[in-house]
């Protein structure tokens, strides 16, 4: 799909890889709408790029998602591309030893992680695709997955959510392709972003780098280039584009 003049929603576009993607989309003359839960992040984005349609939305609330997608469609028109980028990186083992015994994974954090990384993708995509079908708009859905989808020790909830995202990608590609809607995933490996540095300590990162054949973290721009490639290549469908420096082989 040629991106010029196309309407694109990016979730979690106020910072990190999402923000870099937004800047690349603007450079390609797409019309961009950003859904994000962070009001300060959206205010900063709007200050920097007043042409962006900024929407404060809790993507784990399906009623709010429906209302926000409806509003965005009324303002900017039919949506051609949705990038489900918003997510929440959380690490906790299933059980861990403590001086008082065994501590189990916090159920509330399980639910929060699944809601932020999986439910949000389901809610956004169903609302956007409903409108694509009703207006017979040919479109692209790009889900941001992770190498953790294949099972990363210490990340039960996050890995399960991302595996779920990959499953939805395959299901939706099969269901929607005949109506002109492509669905694909991009699965970054460990990438040099704020959230990676917030969540992981340097010792862990160095250990991970030993397992990456290229011996470095991905750059956000490299992930963005992968997302753009998936949007622009009309024959890429139902697959996961892994961008991990060869970590998973």
């Amino acid at each position: 799909m040629e991106l010029q003049s196309k309407n694109v929603i990016v979730t979690g576009g106020a910072r990190g890889i999402g923000r870099e993607l937004v800047e690349k989309l603007l450079a390609k003359q797409a019309k961009v709408c950003v859904f994000d839960i962070s009001r300060p992040g959206l205010e900063q984005l709007h200050n920097d790029y007043p042409e962006i349609d900024c929407v404060e939305c809790d993507l784990t609330d399906h009623k709010m998602v429906e209302m926000c997608v409806s509003g965005a469609t009324e303002r900017i028109g039919a949506i051609h591309v949705l990038v489900n980028n918003a997510g929440f990186l959380y690490s906790e083992p299933l059980v861990k030893l403590s001086p008082t015994g065994i501590l189990k994974h916090d159920p509330a954090m399980w639910e929060k992680t699944i809601a932020a990384n999986l439910n949000s993708v389901f809610y956004m995509t169903s609302s956007v695709v409903e409108r694509m079908i009703m207006t017979r708009t040919k479109g692209v859905i790009v889900n941001i997955s992770s190498v953790s989808a294949c099972g990363n020790a210490g990340q039960s909830a996050y890995s399960a959510a991302k595996a779920g995202v990959n499953a939805l990608t395959a299901v939706w590609a099969k269901e929607l392709g005949m109506m002109g809607v492509r669905v694909a995933s991009v699965a970054p490996g460990f990438t040099n972003t704020e959230s990676t540095n917030e969540v992981m300590n340097q010792a862990n990162l160095q250990e991970i780098l030993k397992r990456v054949p290229l011996r470095r973290l991905g750059k956000p721009g490299e992930i963005v280039d992968g997302i753009i490639a998936v949007i622009e290549n009309d024959f890429f469908n139902g697959k996961v584009f892994e961008l991990d420096g060869g970590l998973v082989l």
Partner: protein, 77 residues
């Protein structure tokens, strides 16, 4: 053209050609679910080089209705 529509329906629904009558409806054929309906619409659009609106798609619940919609597109049924 009438025969062409019937052939498309029979092929997609995997039923005998003579089972495709004007009275045949989605509710009568287990295999004619919403996914099959989308496949049917995509095939009709591609074969006849037409574009159907969402409102037209949802009214095409039986063979007679399909032919009625297609006739408004200039397709002889």
């Amino acid at each position: 053209m009438n025969n062409k529509i019937n052939i498309i329906l029979a092929g997609i629904l995997s039923i005998p050609l003579d089972a495709v009558t004007d009275e045949l409806a989605m509710k009568d054929v287990e295999a004619w679910d919403s996914l099959k309906h989308m496949e049917l619409i995509a095939t009709i659009e591609e074969t006849l080089s037409i574009q159907l609106t969402f409102d037209e798609i949802v009214t095409m619940q039986d063979v007679a209705a399909i032919k009625k919609v297609l006739s408004t597109k200039g397709v002889e049924c």
